[in-house]
């Protein structure tokens, strides 16, 4: 008799999904589904709203990365209206996204991912969480909280609120940064660097301990997508969207506004989140991965020195392209280091305290515009149509996590075959967990 294994809900992720693995009577894996069980239809209910309000509505797509939505949104509106904001405003926005990357990557690493490694994959489910980590490794727990706080406080300062920012308006920013505020943040960013280095050391230890698992479990070839500026890793601003093929060639490097030639959605009948893929390669061959691993793979190098060192170490160990799904967690920490270095560079830039942060004369016009930034979990695309009064008539959104839905499903299929057919979990070298429950 065939059977289904249902994991409901998928846990330690933001959002709602279930996993279904279908086995035949011989325990052969027939299929694996990753079903996203809800959607909220932002692309529909922003129709009819004032464009400047859409910028304040869309952060509610994600409470962990609202800054990315706010910024992709304001870029799309400015593109539609043909506006270029003052350069200091663009630097503040860049800083806002770096700040978010710091707190989100810290949260993702410590709260969502680390329990699997620190408490161990074989621990009882009730212990596999960040509360256990805080209890047993209080020093690491405190450092995680401190790092998240530095990032969130900087989000608050630039965005006006730590969650659901409000300061980006068509034409600039509603609030400049004062010199006193800048000086205070500069003091804290050095502490963030210490904490990021601590996190990198922890990630390095975990990767070393679990290298057998990381390089063998759930590994599969795919395309990769991420922003880059002339090949250099970036998350914001002037950049192109790069695509890497499974054999490691850059097969596209396109302008943001041309995304519809390269990016397409497949509607899976069992999921309210669509499967995004590389259009020229069609579906399912064109399945790609976004986020830290995607960005690290497509980039020739990192923008900042310590992150570049960390990338070199990453590539020496797992190569380029790296197809190991579990290496996402290491890639994330490489990016964390860059976000801290980049935030420091921006805070040291005299423009960051400029009071010239907003145009006084802004006129709506009929047109459409595309905004693309790198959200912590991947390439984020907002595309809006505006009428001549500045009212949104239509929107198309390609949200970061959706790029990965097809790949997540494929990871489950690959891993389920390894577990149910090859019993790989009995053969993998697992270390003694750092936390014994």
């Amino acid at each position: 008799m065939s059977k289904e294994i249902v994991i409901e809900p998928a846990t330690r992720l933001e959002g709602h999904a279930k996993i279904v693995i279908k086995l035949d009577k011989n325990n052969k894996v027939e299929d694996a589904h990753f079903g996203v069980t809800v959607t909220r239809f932002f692309e529909k209910f922003v129709e009819g709203r004032l464009m400047e309000r859409v910028i304040r509505i869309v952060p509610r797509i994600c409470g962990i990365c609202p800054e990315a939505h706010h910024l992709a949104s304001v870029s799309a509106v400015e593109a539609a209206w043909g506006i270029t904001p003052p350069k200091a405003a663009l630097k503040l926005r860049d800083l806002l996204l770096q700040a978010k990357t710091i707190s989100s990557h810290a949260l993702h690493f410590y709260a969502l991912a680390a329990p699997d490694f620190l408490v161990g994959p074989l621990a009882e489910p009730q212990y596999r969480n960040v509360v256990t980590v805080i209890k047993h490794l209080p020093d690491a727990g405190k450092k995680a909280i401190e790092l998240m706080k530095i990032g969130q406080d900087l989000c608050f300062l630039v965005g006006g609120r730590a969650i659901h920012p409000v300061t980006s308006v068509p034409g600039g920013q509603s609030k400049p940064m004062t010199e006193e505020e800048r000086d205070e943040q500069l003091k804290r960013i050095d502490r963030a660097m210490e904490l990021a280095k601590f996190t990198l050391d922890l990630a390095r230890k975990v990767v070393g301990d679990y290298l057998d698992v990381i390089t063998k479990l759930g590994v599969f070839d795919s395309y990769y997508i991420g922003l880059a500026r002339e090949g250099v890793h970036t998350i914001f601003g002037d950049a192109t969207v790069r695509v890497m093929s499974p054999d490691g060639k850059i097969v596209a490097d396109f302008a943001k506004k041309d995304y519809l030639d390269y990016v397409a959605e497949h509607v899976a009948p069992h999921s309210y989140a669509t499967h995004i893929f590389f259009k020229p390669a069609s579906y399912p061959d064109g399945i790609w991965r976004a986020g830290p691993l995607g960005r690290i793979n497509v980039a020739d190098k990192m923008e900042t020195p310590l992150a570049q060192e960390a990338l070199k170490e990453f590539r020496d160990a797992v190569g380029r392209p790296c197809h190991a799904t579990l290496a996402y967690n290491w890639a994330r920490v490489v990016e964390l280091v860059e976000a801290v270095e980049k935030a420091k560079m921006l805070l040291e830039d005299p423009d960051i305290v400029s009071t010239d942060v907003k145009l006084a004369d802004v006129e709506p016009r009929e047109g459409n515009g595309v905004g693309v930034v790198e959200a912590p979990r991947g390439t984020l695309i907002h595309h809006y149509w505006s009428d001549e009064k500045g009212i949104c008539t239509k929107a198309n959104l390609i949200v970061a996590t959706n790029h990965n839905i097809a790949a997540v499903e494929k990871s489950f299929l690959v891993t389920a075959k390894q577990v149910f057919e090859d019993k790989i979990h009995e053969k993998l070298k697992l270390p003694e967990p750092m936390i014994k429950t």
Binding site: R53, G160, K175
Partner: protein, 303 residues
């Protein structure tokens, strides 16, 4: 002994739980006092675990988000049965929230836009296999189950969450609001406000010290309850009303329309120009409140 807690997210953005995490060091006080029985983003408990607990066996349930699907309704009702005290966390749960703007259209139109008409979709197809059915309308959660505590906000600010949880641990319920957002806003206001010109948020450079409404920007402060500390006006942006209606206000949007109507100088702006300038009445005045507003029922009847 730690208090047992189950925290669920219905259709939501997780912002209210992010705000709980943003209590930072206070987490180290709060977490050891809680015995978490369900919190899908942070722990590995499954729905079957939640279903298996005895009715009334969990001390506190926390609900973030609103019901978009039939599954959401099931989870909300299940949680209510299991918990002694139920907290409505955030504006989605409390008033229906921003996703309630979809009530202005139909779910069929929404499914069509997203899965059939979207420019990037290839081979249009509406998901129907093993996915929960969408509800026709968003309603505030209190229309489905009873709650003991409401903490609105989009998101609820961290301090409100920490105070409420630490208070509940001592058996105290949070106090209801007594003031509006204007009362806690540091911007300077005249005794009598008169608006001669309405402005869109991107127009001009607002005076950083003066009341935004007085400068012609539509700020929802007069119709909104206190609590956030006037975060948006402090950052140079008008309040959008995310904390919900002020004390003794039944319909937040109607209250704001009436407030605006009474301060506009009609010799400078005609009523027609006013409506034209507002541009989007539902989105302007009911951004977070549509499913709780009187207008919502009228929209539904019209369909």
């Amino acid at each position: 002994m730690p208090v047992t807690v189950a925290m669920v997210s219905l259709a939501s953005c997780w912002g209210c739980y992010q705000s709980l995490l943003d209590t930072h060091e206070a987490l180290l006080d709060i977490l050891p006092q809680l015995d978490i029985k369900f919190w899908h983003t942070v722990t590995d408990f499954k729905y079957k675990d939640l279903e298996s607990y005895k009715d009334g066996s969990i001390d506190v349930g926390i609900v973030e988000g609103v019901c978009r699907t039939e599954e959401d309704v099931h989870i909300l009702k299940t949680l209510r049965k299991k918990c002694k005290t139920l907290i409505s966390l955030g504006t989605c749960s409390t008033y229906g929230g921003i996703y309630g703007l979809l009530n202005l259209t139909t779910i069929d139109q929404a499914l069509k836009r997203k899965f059939v008409e979207a420019e990037s979709v290839q081979e249009p197809n509406i998901p129907e296999e093993d996915v929960p059915k969408m509800l026709d309308f968003i309603v505030p959660n209190r229309k489905i189950v009873d709650f003991e505590v409401f903490l609105p906000g989009c998101p609820v600010v961290s301090k409100d969450i920490a105070d409420a949880i630490l208070g509940l641990l001592k058996g105290e319920l949070p106090k209801p609001p007594v003031r509006t957002l204007c009362d806690e806003c540091p911007r300077e206001k005249s005794e009598v406000i008169t608006i001669k010109q309405l402005k869109r948020d991107y127009e001009g450079i607002p005076d950083p010290k003066k009341c935004l409404l007085e400068q012609g920007y539509i700020c929802m402060g007069p119709a909104t309850r206190e609590g956030c500390g006037a975060l948006c006006p402090k950052a140079g942006m008008p309040c959008r009303g995310c904390y919900g209606p002020g004390p003794n206000v039944i319909d937040q949007g109607a209250k704001m329309i009436s407030a605006l109507g009474s301060i506009v100088d009609y010799e400078s702006i005609s009523p027609e120009e006013l409506v034209e300038k507002v541009g989007d009445v539902a989105g302007t005045f009911y951004n977070f409140f549509l499913p709780s507003g009187i207008i919502s029922k009228t929209v539904r009847k019209a369909k």
